[in-house]
């Protein structure tokens, strides 16, 4: 087989929702590459299309949404054209997913042990007894106390943090190559969040799983990720290595996001704000979609859409400020 350096490569992905009001371009031409054994962050505010991107990778986009263009190359294999049956073999085995709400993503009428061993029985040719053994083993690994006893607990008997551990266990039990985590710690308290992030990093380094971390929390990105993609209204606005992005944010949107976080030094100056609000995807502004909120907007920004510009060192930003042709004029 051909050698691929990137585990997952999304090329020009467009996922649109066909609603009564019109076509909503929730994901509008996204390119993301996830290298082997790395943690990639996908950040943005609500409605920017980060979750829809994840759902598109997994083929979980529901009616009226549909992938209208693009490729999702997983080890060089295009997932976007796979049938449901083929996807079922990949989901949970090669790619798994953790959701934000650990209460609604577990089935309340089955024990957690049964739900996790179901994943093993589906994808691996093992006996029920062995599946149970492996479930208990993974429970121990993700730090669930008394795993033998917990095997027969129901989701409602567990706290939010423990439920999220069960979800992570379920996602890791088949040693997937890629784990997609959609806001896995948003519903949790800070001390529990720290535990879960620690656990994810530990599992990642032990098993070499790549993680696509979807979050709105820039703190979580800084703590966990190697690379970051910043999304805004369906498009990737900036992409860089995590240290580079936090030290030298280039796109005005990323700059605004980083500066609107209350400063930890405790100075009581006014917070930097990005004026206005996220545009309606049905009525996207002409030109750059961030333009109406941008402080550095120029005339060209209202007329033409910028392309992702390469800034060197793998740093990219979708902004005319870095377009040599435009700025040279």
């Amino acid at each position: 087989m051909e050698q691929h350096t990137d585990l997952l490569e999304i090329r020009g992905l467009k996922t649109h929702f066909f609603t009564k009001q019109g076509e909503v371009p929730a994901v509008d031409g996204v390119d993301i590459a996830i290298p082997q054994k790395s943690i990639v962050g996908l950040v943005g505010e609500s409605g920017c299309g980060k979750s829809v991107t994840a759902m598109s990778i997994m083929h979980l986009v529901q009616h009226p949404g549909r992938i209208v263009a693009g490729q999702v190359l997983f080890n060089g294999d295009d997932l976007a054209v796979k049938s449901i049956r083929e996807m079922n073999k990949i989901r949970g085995k090669d790619i798994s997913m953790i959701f934000q709400e650990p209460m609604t993503s577990l089935n309340p009428v089955y024990t957690i042990g049964r739900q996790v061993s179901e994943a093993i029985l589906l994808h691996q040719n093992v006996s029920k007894a062995e599946a149970k053994e492996r479930t208990i083993e993974i429970f121990r690994k993700v730090g669930i106390p008394e795993p033998e006893k917990r095997y027969s607990s129901y989701p409602h008997q567990l706290s939010g943090g423990l439920r999220q551990r069960v979800m992570i266990g379920m996602a890791m039990v088949c040693n997937p190559q890629l784990m997609i985590a959609d806001e896995p710690t948003t519903a949790l308290d800070v001390t529990i969040e720290a535990q879960i992030l620690h656990l994810m990093r530990q599992l990642q380094s032990e098993q070499g799983t790549s993680i696509l971390m979807i979050t709105h929390n820039l703190g979580v990105v800084a703590e966990l990720c190697d690379e970051v993609y910043v999304m805004y209204a369906g498009k990737v606005m900036e992409h860089a290595d995590v240290n580079e992005l936090f030290a030298h944010p280039q796109h005005p949107y990323t700059f605004g996001l980083l500066n609107s976080i209350p400063d930890t030094s405790g100075t009581k100056s006014r917070l930097y704000t990005i004026r206005g609000m996220v545009p309606n995807l049905l009525k996207l502004p002409k030109g750059c979609r961030f333009c109406p909120r941008c402080e550095k907007a120029m005339k060209i920004c209202t007329m033409q859409e910028p392309e992702l510009q390469d800034l060197g060192n793998g740093h990219q930003a979708r902004c005319f400020l870095f377009d040599k042709e435009v700025m040279g004029k």
Partner: protein
């Protein structure tokens, strides 16, 4: 901030009875708030922080007397709220307001925002005519950054940040002195959160407001508050000025809480953070002695037996821990 005490909370206790079944009599008790004592000074922002279930929202509602305490008292501007006659209490309530966490659930979807913001004005018959009330509503909306032309729109026509502004306008309608903000920005995106925080800061300066700011977001609290009160399982662990608490936390829980916050700076990443082990204990059966001892790495035998008292460590600085002298 002045030295005048606006609210004095003394030995406040709130217990909720819970029953295991609909038909059975209540069997167990949730100790939501246990023996809490503190003051809120005129013009300050006091933050109440803690994890879910620590009783911070219950405490906020107790201070507004929206729920009756099981024991203890709340004194607002020298008047003991538990001893007031209903009509006196009603009048006193004009001076205190609440801003809610969820801007979607806290506005009636069938009312226009004019009616929503006018409700407190009409309840207390502040103005004689409808036109005067509407004029005041327009002013309030303008103060909060909503264009007065939108006065006849309905909540669903606004974004989350704008709805929160409507909620703030409603809270300001009666010129209150105290506003309890119960997680007012936790449902908002960062860029919108910054706008609302700036608005709250501006309003405080203009109108000499006192805030009780309930939040689990420690970076927001650091930004906004003058003093911080850290709660764990219905008890106060530590009170002090924001600077003191963040720079030299006394109680082990405060230390871990601050350490746990993900910092938006990848250069400060630590592979081995000091982390709290275990889960938050249940407020139905709080641990004996110090309620934090089951998770505390410094716990001694004394901690599991004796409950530490909140004591003054230095001026204005209090902690409840046996190890802090």
């Amino acid at each position: 901030m002045s030295d005048k005490k606006l609210v004095e909370v003394r030995n406040l206790v709130k217990e909720f009875k819970v029953s295991s079944s609909m038909w059975k009599k209540s069997t167990s008790v949730v100790h939501a708030v246990s023996d809490v004592t503190f003051d809120i000074y005129q013009g300050e922002t006091l933050a109440l922080v803690g994890e879910s279930g620590c009783g911070k929202s219950t405490l906020g509602r107790l201070i507004l007397n929206l729920i009756e305490p099981t024991a203890g008292s709340v004194t607002f501007d020298g008047q003991n709220m538990q001893k007031l006659k209903p009509e006196d209490l009603r009048q006193l309530r004009r001076q205190m307001q609440l801003i809610f966490q969820d801007p979607y659930a806290s506005l009636n979807p069938r009312w226009s925002i004019r009616d929503i913001v006018a409700e407190p004005l009409e309840t207390f018959h502040v103005y004689k005519t409808k036109a005067e009330t509407t004029k005041r509503v327009e002013e309030l909306l303008k103060t909060c950054g909503i264009r007065p032309e939108f006065i006849n729109r309905y909540p669903h026509q606004f974004s989350g940040g704008q709805r929160q502004r409507v909620g703030i306008a409603r809270a300001l309608a009666l010129n209150p002195r105290l506003i309890v903000c119960d997680e007012p920005v936790s449902a908002l995106d960062v860029s919108i959160q910054a706008q609302v925080l700036n608005l709250l800061g501006d309003l405080q300066q203009e109108m000499d407001l006192t805030y009780l700011f309930i939040s689990h977001d420690l970076s927001v609290v650091r930004y906004l508050s003058d003093r911080v009160c850290v709660m764990f399982l219905g008890k106060i662990c530590e009170i002090g000025t924001t600077k003191d608490v963040y720079e030299s936390p006394l109680h082990p829980y405060t230390r871990f809480l601050l350490e746990a916050v993900p910092k938006p700076d990848p250069t400060k990443r630590k592979e081995d953070k000091d982390m709290l082990i275990g889960e938050i204990p249940s407020p139905v059966n709080p641990p004996s002695g110090c309620r934090f001892h089951t998770r505390c790495p410094f716990a001694t035998e004394q901690c599991s037996k004796e409950e530490p008292v909140l004591h003054e460590v230095s001026a204005g600085r209090m902690a409840a821990c046996h190890l802090v002298k």
